[in-house]
Symmetry: D2
Subunit: 338 residues, 4 copies
């Protein structure tokens, strides 16, 4: 940590600050420049409060040079994480394909889609039972009924299942029905939910917040790991920018940044990122080429009748075509598809 002192900070004040820092068991290194004087702080900085230092009248700025997250940090855990969900593995050797409807609408709809995506090669079935919707007047999901259909679909097809949970109550219910939990973009910093997800015993996928920095996202994952859950993967789903030609801006370079900073697997969701059906296939190829560990895509048997997010859903046939076309891309990055 580097502390930049104010220009008018006297030598006595500098010494007092240095002593105070050293009293926390830290070493310091004072460097006087012609314009600014800085203090380098060495040791376990978690005993200091950055905000407190920034408020100090002697201090101009505080620049951290190490990260605040530890368990998710690749520095302290260099090997890629891999974990099992039911009978599929998410990690560096596989290309995980999560597919299914945005929202579960009926038993028949879910079973039809589940059979189709299984046949085409997906290994996880996605489907929303609790839908976070901007307007209170939009369809909010089938809730526990939807979860029951997910369980049936998983049992019949052998697919692992993943559902978004939007509250502690949804979490408590969902753990009995599905194999993996998803924390959505709007809840990425719902810290109470993250803590409970950390204790739930199920693998979890944490989506990036609508305007979350990578650093905030990794700290959110740290909440889950710090509460006991090592089976976490991250999902890039586009960020909010000024550009409105696509719903969000898919940040594929974020996959590369994450691969440097963390050992956790990274999934890409091109459906929510763009909101455009025709962009899902090329962006899936693009995500594989850049090094993602998998993709999550929306598939619907009748997208024009979907109750939620129809415009971005592939038909079952389009999904099947996509699966055929992405195999050579998976081969190029030496990842297995089911």
């Amino acid at each position: 940590m580097i502390i930049v002192l104010k220009e008018n900070c006297t030598i006595e004040q500098q010494q007092a600050l240095v002593s105070s820092i050293q009293s926390h068991g830290l070493s310091t290194n004072l460097s006087k420049g012609d314009q600014v004087t800085i203090i380098g702080v060495i040791g376990d900085k978690s005993v200091l409060d950055i905000d407190q230092l920034k408020a100090d009248p002697r201090v101009d700025n505080v620049i951290p040079v190490t990260e605040s997250y530890k368990l998710v940090n690749r520095k302290f855990h260099p090997e890629d994480t891999e974990f099992t969900v039911k009978n599929t593995v998410i990690g560096p050797n596989n290309l995980t394909i999560m597919a299914g409807p945005c929202a579960i609408e009926s038993e028949e709809q879910l079973m039809t889609i589940a059979r189709a995506v299984k046949a085409s090669g997906a290994t996880l079935l996605r489907g929303g039972a609790y839908k976070p919707r901007t307007s209170p007047y939009s369809f909010q999901g089938l809730e526990e009924e939807g979860l029951r259909y997910m369980k049936e679909a998983g049992e019949e097809t052998g697919l692992a299942t993943i559902c978004e949970i939007t509250s502690l109550k949804a979490l408590e219910t969902a753990v009995s029905y599905v194999d993996m939990l998803q924390v959505g973009a709007r809840n990425m910093q719902n810290f109470e939910l993250l803590k409970e997800v950390g204790k739930c015993g199920k693998p979890v996928m944490l989506k990036r917040g609508l305007a979350a920095t990578i650093d905030e996202w990794l700290n959110a994952a740290e909440y889950i790991m710090a509460n006991g859950n090592p089976n976490v993967c991250l999902c890039e789903r586009g960020i909010r920018t000024y550009e409105t030609a696509t719903r969000n801006t898919l940040d594929l370079a974020a996959v590369l940044v994450l691969k440097e900073k963390t050992h956790l697997p990274v999934i890409v969701d091109p459906s929510h990122a763009t909101g455009v059906r025709a962009f899902v296939k090329p962006l899936t190829k693009s995500a594989i080429a850049v090094g993602a560990d998998g993709v999550m895509v929306e598939v619907h048997n009748r997208p024009e009748c979907a109750l939620s997010d129809g415009p971005q859903s592939l038909t079952c046939q389009q999904f099947d075509e996509m699966m055929q076309e992405i195999r050579p891309y998976a081969d190029l990055v030496k990842r297995s598809l089911a």
Copy 2:
């Protein structure tokens, strides 16, 4: 609602779509241009699903011309909302000053600050008992102990009290202790929390999400009102942009947009918006001049010792000076200060 048809949409397809829309009890108006054909839809569009329409293979785009929120909409409720919190009123005739520490740290700290801000003219005491923190290793708040101190401080000083709640559990606890609840930026789209806040019987302040559009914000407020709570005010606290010279970018024009679109009071938080103590006073004046119904500012008796967000807190003396200086601005906009 305007539906723009695809260029290759046949006349038969147009007719089928028009019939389908009319079968929902809506009127339509077909307009053929040289480049595009559009259908104007007239009536209660809540029976249609925009996403479903967008997914329709005959449809190029769907453009809403009316808003999805109703209860918060000024069109249907032209008068400014005003409501009472304990013995103070938030609304068009007053300038509400909410002041207090970012985080409640001890009984003594809170009482000292409460007495000071009361003496200077604040009417609501703010103070965080549940702190949403980016890192799991940062101070997370005193929780119920903090709420008890708030209650004491309110009783001794006569100030109304407001606390952020970050979970249903916090909500359940907080309603017994404080006069008004705050939903923070990170929970603006925690819809389960919004629904319960709608049922809790206490006035509520809804902060704008880190990257929320005004439209999403008003829909979030609609969740609260639709669940029975009419006593809602909004708080502009800066949005996330590319500019890092301040922590967020305070969007004062949003106050004006809100005043057109909704009848709910609007509070401005210059402390969180900028993260810089020296900017709080001038931006408070600026917020008053633009028409805000009040401000929320952080005050600390010893900012350099604050456990959270010290750099943006005013000292009690700075707050007192600010209160003196803003009086003529309040006079210019014909609003009462305590």
Copy 3:
């Protein structure tokens, strides 16, 4: 074009507005809803001024449904554009690789790099002779001396050459030396420069502005085409967002949007987009997979000694490895590499 009327607009006012629009030779279609009344306008809207209409006291909003650009619009020119630069073709059948140093530093540096990138399979040599630098005290380029080296390098290696021009004077000089011109991000809306580039007779690559929408970008390209130059390609180079983990956010979905809206070729620049050497190779693969017509990458013989943008430059050997690795990706999208 759709004109949404104000709620309080009387029938007489509506009729007057309709008559006024019809007097410009346009047809109208009036649609009265329960909340709003709209006028659909049919015909050549370029005779109307949107800003003027928006200022009209009877008008609430004006929503264009057709684009303002024509020559670059795929609607009126469905086939992909392809054009020749010296002895290489930019278009749908090729994968164009532009490579070279950020800034030309010396004859020896440029010749070394030119020979290396030619040997590895590049077809265009890039190199900056005029460098737009944030600070006036940074290295600004060798100017005409650099252009002379480019000409020599092109003659010796047979590579086509491309240089950024930053002013009319640079343009006048550069046309005698290089085969293709580049308009950089900072000049994307330097309309005087665009007009002259439209008249210069050389192929041109137009980079996306730092925070330009796709619509603004296509209108900027329209300036070039409207002044007589049909040989234009676009270059996505990352946009400015709140995320600072990479220099900019590479918007690969923009390639897909552009392919829908325009017939012009699209190049991707992963070097400037991220500012990180290690990200160039994977993002190049990603750009190919998504459908780009080529990439522009920075290569330097000694990046640690580069006078400009060293951290994002590949070494000549890294570039060679990249070229080997991207061949199977080019095969998958059926594009030829040199």
Copy 4:
């Protein structure tokens, strides 16, 4: 400047880097932490190239702690700059009001508006003769004819005049006609234009780029001052963000940041920032309250007939009302109005 070394950097490599830095006449200060080792660099860092250092294989990151701009920097020029334009002064004691049409349309239009804004208390007449327009098919300005009208209007009314110049050619023409030049948002980093504006001998107003950071903006101003022109003021006109409810997001906190970092006057343009007529008056008050040295507002005698940006223009009468209402705000900040 702080250089953060890579973890695997050997002691020999550290020493070699330190020696190399010292060979440039700089002092260094090596600080070894348990996780990272950093080198503090003391002295005139302009002899080092940050990009070159970042590309060094031994280096993880380079963090500047001092600014790259010098002449505009308040550190080296603590007093507020003030300068005279014709017979008005821009600086800390005045509130400068620039008013006039977005685009000059005719002699009569300009004279009518000039007389009106003079009568209401403006001191500078604005008016666009060269209009940078997104589409090549929009009205581009009267050019030299417009400048002639400006000169006449200035002579008749006594108002000082300001015009945007969009090219070197426009600059050469404009210097003979107007008292002050404006560099617009789209040209903020048109460095060739900035250099010539630095040599032109006229006061200049530099608008913030559409998505420019404050740091980039100050460096752009440095280009002008470094070329000999000390009479520079800055104009905040809103930045591009994800929010579309207003055309741009007016960043009033930027006024405060600028006042800390630079001695140059700061003007605010609420017309372009929002694009909404009704927001101009309240945001003008807000800008005064926050400490701006003036505002630039658009005024039109018949906004509904304006050829450019009508929706944001005040009528002459609205401008007059605004001038009455802002006087007490000017008094509160102790600034003189004409």
